[in-house]
């Protein structure tokens, strides 16, 4: 099956987020899940039982924000509400969205 342009991310509560595949690939975690023989790769559907919907929503926000601004210099920062900062930090760690991530470096 040819890879679809979109993939579905599912939160702990079962909320589904349909995300542009290329945008979601910024996360090495998701990239790993979508590789080769895993079931996620076949269905294009990744479930994250330990991540709640409002955090996943913000992460998805970030994916698209990253995708939109990936060619720009001096990008304005994305707003992050202080109250969900810690949760989001955990999620960022989980999704491996670190600046030292080699995938983020340009080929």
């Amino acid at each position: 099956m040819a890879d679809s342009k979109y993939i579905t991310l599912v939160s702990g509560e079962g909320f589904e987020f349909v995300v542009l595949r290329e945008a979601a690939l910024v996360s090495p975690t998701i990239k790993g899940m979508l590789r080769s023989q895993f079931i996620e790769a076949r269905t294009g559907r990744c479930t994250f039982p330990e991540i709640s919907a409002h955090v996943l929503e913000k992460v998805v926000d970030y994916f698209h924000y990253w995708y939109r601004t990936r060619e720009q210099e001096d990008v304005p920062d994305m707003e992050i509400p202080p109250e969900m900062c810690l949760e989001l930090l955990m999620a960022a760690e989980y999704f491996n969205l670190d600046s030292k991530n080699p995938l983020r470096e340009r080929e």
């Binding site: 210099e73 001096d74 202080p82 600046s99 470096e105």
Partner: protein, 627 residues
């Protein structure tokens, strides 16, 4: 004016219901306009909409349209209410008339009247009536919640012109504050943006695209750190990042320190302890009993009493990094090493004025049997005797010295002959008097070096460097910093007959020996490296088959011979290169930088130009700067 507005709005409402405009509609509109004009002429005091409606119904002479309107039901209903409204209306009018009289008599009115003719008098009086609110000290009903309150000079006006009681005005000002806060702009226009980009390049934080989510979170957290009670069970690398970010803004104080002290931790890094007191440092040892690695920068109040406490506990530090703790006395250093030195593997001491002395270094060989890393930086007390004592520490693998006193080269030679064979790091900063004998000693003794730094030597010569790197049994170095090893003669700056400093041949020998493995090279200010040497070393891979795979950072600032061609060659032969510094290379004029690489210090106003498909954009920017 009010009646006209009212009529129009009613018309539009009707129109919205019928969804189209009929001839009847148009006639109604015209009637409404005519009536409005009449109302104005009649000089009636029709202040509010309701009274106007009633008046127009009760005086048939002025309201032909309404009586002829196709909706008689509202009209009759209006007539029924008319009687009551009429009396109400009259009362209101009387009241107003009285108020106007009063205003006309007032001083304020007399003053203003001077500029008006008699026609404007009534209007002015009415305007003043509207604006005149109860004076401070009087009672008034709040416009918003209706409660009765005492008017003060600070009472606010509500949205409809009335006054607000104090709880309501607080609410109102809160709303105002939220509204007036404008969204912050990321940068200020084209020039501001360009400036920001250049600033990022210099900071080394330049990258295309957005910041990582983690960075964004950490920045937000640092901004709101006063809200945080506890960082929860975040992984320690993240906590470390938060700590770094906080220190950047000098936000680490007694309160925020607690966030980073986890009882189970083995490491505590305080990147900026300038606001911490001695008690805070003691608290670190109280909260984290299993501490193994301690790093404190700007720990001014890390003094004798803290050392005393540390010695009284069962904490066996393996790694101690102290920066700026110059209140610890020499006696206390010695005491500490004698009591706790046996567990120390790494000791790094920066900026400790006069108290970290030769005597302390002499103790190390006996008290610290497992010391592998020693760094003494910005030290004014240590002399040759102390350096000679370091030679007695056979376990040492990493040695960094940045001393203000300058020991003789013989001392270094002796040091290297003792411990050189196993050294992985040798860093000698600001060694003006060190000469070729040191280089020869490195050549003879060192077999495991990966990092070498010798800076600001005025004695070493090109031939010395050639001897060092030629047929050296040491494997290729990964990090080389030979900055400012050059001839310094202000009378004859161009001539260098003795070949002082790192020159062409030394550079060729260095790259021949270590080029393949070098990750970072710094030859800042080695002015006598010639263009031919650069071209030989970095000439395109096709010709010589040379590629410097590992090279990530290259600093060739103030090497006069670097040209556009050399820079282009560097980009071609160093595929992994991230950053190239060319400050003061005045022959670099117009290089296109490949995507993903950074060229810092280009001597023109435009800065770095990225090679690639967005040339048009770059040209736009150029125009912006010239404008």
């Amino acid at each position: 004016m009010a009646p006209v507005l009212y009529e129009v709005s009613r018309q539009t409402r009707q129109r919205r219901i019928s969804h189209n405009i009929s001839a009847h509609q148009i006639r109604l509109d015209a009637d409404a306009r005519r009536r409005a004009a009449q109302n104005e002429q009649g000089d009636q005091v029709d202040e509010n909409n309701q009274s106007n409606d009633q008046t127009s119904v009760t005086t048939p002479a002025t309201t032909p349209a309404v009586s002829a309107s196709p909706a008689p039901v509202p009209a009759t209903r209006g007539r029924r209410a008319a009687a009551a409204a009429n009396t109400q209306d009259e009362e209101a009018r009387e009241k107003e008339q009285k108020a106007i009289e009063k205003i006309k008599a007032s001083k304020k009115f007399q003053k203003r009247k001077r500029y008006l003719d008699s026609d404007g008098e009534d209007d002015l009086a009415r305007a003043l009536l509207q604006s005149s609110a109860p004076l401070p000290g009087q009672q008034e009903n709040c416009e918003n919640c209706g409660t009765r309150f005492t008017v003060t000079a600070y009472s606010r006006n509500g949205p409809n012109g009335g006054l607000l009681c104090s709880p309501c005005s607080k609410e109102a000002s809160k709303d105002d504050a939220a509204k007036s806060k404008k969204p912050k702009r990321a940068t200020g226009g084209a020039v501001g943006k360009r400036r920001q980009v250049q600033s990022n390049i210099l900071d080394g934080t330049y990258s295309l695209g957005a910041k990582s989510l983690m960075t964004l979170c950490i920045e937000t957290l640092a901004k709101n750190i006063d809200l945080a009670e506890d960082l929860g069970d975040l992984p320690s690398p993240i906590i470390d990042k938060i700590a770094r970010k906080l220190s950047k803004h000098r936000l680490l104080d007694s309160r925020t320190l607690s966030l980073f002290l986890q009882p189970t931790a083995e490491e505590v890094h305080v990147y900026d302890g300038a606001k911490l007191s001695s008690d805070d440092f003691i608290r670190i040892f109280q909260t984290v009993p299993g501490l193994k690695k301690l790093k404190i920068r700007n720990g001014i109040h890390f003094k004798d009493q803290v050392m005393d406490y540390l010695m009284s506990r069962h904490i066996e530090l393996e790694d101690l990094y102290l920066h700026g703790a110059n209140l610890i006395s020499e006696a206390k250093w010695k005491e500490y090493l004698q009591k706790k030195g046996h567990s120390l593997r790494s000791l790094r001491v920066y900026f400790t004025d006069k108290h970290f002395t030769d005597g302390v270094l002499e103790l190390l060989s006996t008290t610290c049997p497992s010391l592998t890393r020693l760094k003494v930086s910005h030290n004014q007390a240590v002399t040759g005797a102390g350096v000679a004592a370091i030679a007695q520490i056979p376990t040492l693998r990493h040695l960094t010295l940045d001393l203000r006193n300058e020991p003789h080269s013989d001392i270094y030679v002796d040091l290297l002959s003792h411990i050189g064979a196993h050294l992985k790091t040798l860093s000698l900063t600001r060694v003006r008097d060190a000469d070729n004998t040191v280089l020869d000693a490195i050549h003879t003794h060192c077999r495991a070096l990966a990092k070498l730094r010798i800076t600001e030597s005025e004695e070493m010569t090109d031939a010395g460097f050639v001897r060092l790197f030629k047929d050296w049994a040491n494997p290729g170095l990964e990090f080389v910093d030979l900055q400012k090893c050059r001839q310094l003669d202000s009378a004859h700056p161009r001539e260098n007959p003795d070949g002082l400093g790192l020159c062409s041949n030394g550079f060729r020998a260095l790259m021949a020996h270590s080029g393949k493995k070098l990750r970072e090279l710094n030859v800042h200010g080695c002015r006598h490296i010639g263009a031919d040497a650069f071209e030989d070393v970095f000439s395109p891979a096709a010709a010589t088959g040379r590629v410097y795979e590992a090279m990530a950072k290259l600093e060739i600032s103030f090497c006069e011979e670097v040209t556009d061609f050399v820079v282009g060659c560097v980009f071609r032969t160093c595929p992994r290169l991230r950053e190239l510094n060319v400050f003061g290379c005045m022959k670099v004029r117009d290089v296109r930088v490949p995507r993903g690489k950074i060229l810092v210090g280009v001597p023109n106003a435009r800065g770095m130009v990225i090679e690639g498909d967005d040339d048009e954009e770059e040209e736009d920017e150029e125009m912006d700067t010239s404008a």
